[in-house]
């Protein structure tokens, strides 16, 4: 790893991944990846296709089990746990292709998310109480989705679905939120406004955010820290200015090396 400038934080990291490796046959998707994320940090993961960003996100959220290495959340080992158990320990994610319930309304989607976050799913406690609906609408308002509350998800444009996907992930008040390409499929003009909305919605939350991103303007503007991947390895880790100026990042990720 060249020009690695790990940020040092006094507090215990929310996420600590050490020595993660993952192979798919002959393809090395992750190789000795070690990343710590502190509470409240905004960290972007960059790299070309197949660099290992989504594999890392999938390992942290329990979708993939690493071949080697260890993942802890607030000091608790979660390496062997599945998505549901990891979600219950305060990790939430959104998806590159939003994972929603197409025939539900936007409001019901958030109520489902809130219900799942409450633990035991009661067979008699009403799902649509005034208090629950008010809380859901308040969350939707934070994402500027209040006007869509009664629309079916299948009727929503792509960008709005992305925001709903993230809003649903936030209902359980996670300590770590992973966003897989939150601006993919959104027009260039809409990317920054969309990120403004997301960051404004997250402003009051003490949540660490890790987001996979290809747009370097977005990365530069919204990250406290940038981690660059190439060929399953971390090749740079530092502030946006430092990481984006790194020689390997310029050669393998941004393609701006002379």
């Amino acid at each position: 790893m060249s020009a690695v400038m790990k940020s040092s934080t006094a507090a215990a990291p929310v996420l600590s991944a050490s020595g993660l490796s993952k192979r798919f046959g002959a393809v090395v998707a992750a190789q000795d990846v070690s990343i710590d994320v502190a509470a409240g940090e905004r960290v972007s993961l960059i790299g070309g296709n197949g660099a290992g960003k989504t594999t890392f996100v999938n390992m942290v959220t329990g979708y993939l089990k690493p071949d080697a290495g260890r993942i802890t959340l607030g000091g608790q080992d979660v390496t062997a746990l599945g998505p549901r158990e990891i979600t219950r320990r305060g990790v939430a994610r959104s998806f590159q292709i939003p994972q929603l319930c197409a025939e539900m309304t936007v409001l019901d989607s958030v109520l489902v998310a809130a219900s799942c976050g409450e633990g035991a799913l009661s067979p008699w406690r009403p799902a649509r109480t005034s208090a629950r609906k008010d809380a859901a609408l308040a969350l939707l308002d934070r994402f500027a989705l209040g006007g869509h509350a009664r629309r079916r998800v299948s009727e929503l444009p792509g960008g709005v679905r992305k925001l709903l996907d993230i809003a649903m992930a936030l209902t359980g008040h996670p300590r770590l939120l992973l966003l897989d390409e939150p601006t993919s499929g959104v027009s260039a003009d809409e990317k920054l406004p969309m990120m403004d909305t997301i960051m404004a919605a997250l402003a009051g939350e003490p949540v660490a955010v890790l987001f996979v991103e290809h747009d370097m303007d977005v990365v530069d503007r919204y990250s406290d820290r940038v981690i660059a991947f190439w060929s399953g390895k971390v090749i740079a880790d530092g502030s946006p200015a430092e990481a984006l100026a790194d020689e390997q990042v310029r050669r393998y990720v941004t393609g701006t090396a002379r």
Partner: protein, 343 residues
Amino acid sequence: MRETSVRRTVAAGVATIALLLAVGWMLPRWLQFLATMAFANGVVTLGIVLLMRGGVVSFGQGMVFAVGGYAAALGSNRLGITDALLLVPAGGLIAALVAAPFAPLLARYRGIFFAMLTLALSMVLYGVLVKSSTLGGSDGFNVARPTIAGQAISNAASGFAMYALAVVVTGVLAIACAVYFASVRGLVSLAVRENELRVEYLGGSVRRVMAGNFVAAAFLGGTGGALAALSLGHIEPEFSYWTRSGEFVFAAILAGHHGVIATFVASLLLEIVRSFSNLYFPNTWQLALGVFLLVVIRFLPRGIGSLWLDRRDRDAPAAGAQAEELQSQAPARNGTTLPGGAA
């Protein structure tokens, strides 16, 4: 559904039960019996509707229908329990207990695999019942007329008494299902139907929801079986045969998965169509039933319930569009314009 809405559901259910009891008093005996069977079958169908809301269809609901029926019949004939208020819930409970060990396994399967596994279970039971001489073999056996709350029922009053029992039992279960459908778990069931991955990533246990639905559907099926056996005064292995399970699926498709009332409307319609087809086309009544189903699927693909529930849904997006319009007139939040016109 708010807490007040739960009370409203219960109040509406109790009023409907009272109305059905009053109407039933005036019905001719043959129609009382037809309605009794429609209610008994409707409870079983309600179990399939409950499963459909989670995205699976059981083709073996005949199994729990038979278990409930045999449990009530054996309780009456062998154990000397004569009261229907004990026999009917016992049928439901024993069916749920029989189904429970299979629930964790079946919760792992979807689509045709779930349907075929449940069908296989019902046919295994059918095979056992047909070969078991102690349970009456292929002819089954008769069941004595039960008492209700300790009161013996005369022959003249038996039609209305069994009708009233069916109305009260199915009414209570219908209210319970309406509350469940509007509950936290009921809403998450609908999400499981659409996107299991998302539910797991939100922290919900898909398998627990599916297993719970399977056991609840078994309870409903067993209760329906007990009601049917006591009303008919007879039980036989045909209760578990695949054609019987098919009829329940038929009724569930007719009803759609959106509500409770539609299930009983569909069950009653099916019973009427079957009875009259049987009367006027004794050799080809299945043909008439098939044509009826084709017509329903062609014109009401979301079931009978869509006749009134789709109208409600159409009103909801309209309200949403109004709110959107109002919001678009308000100053933009966060100073941004979002994709899709949301501000």
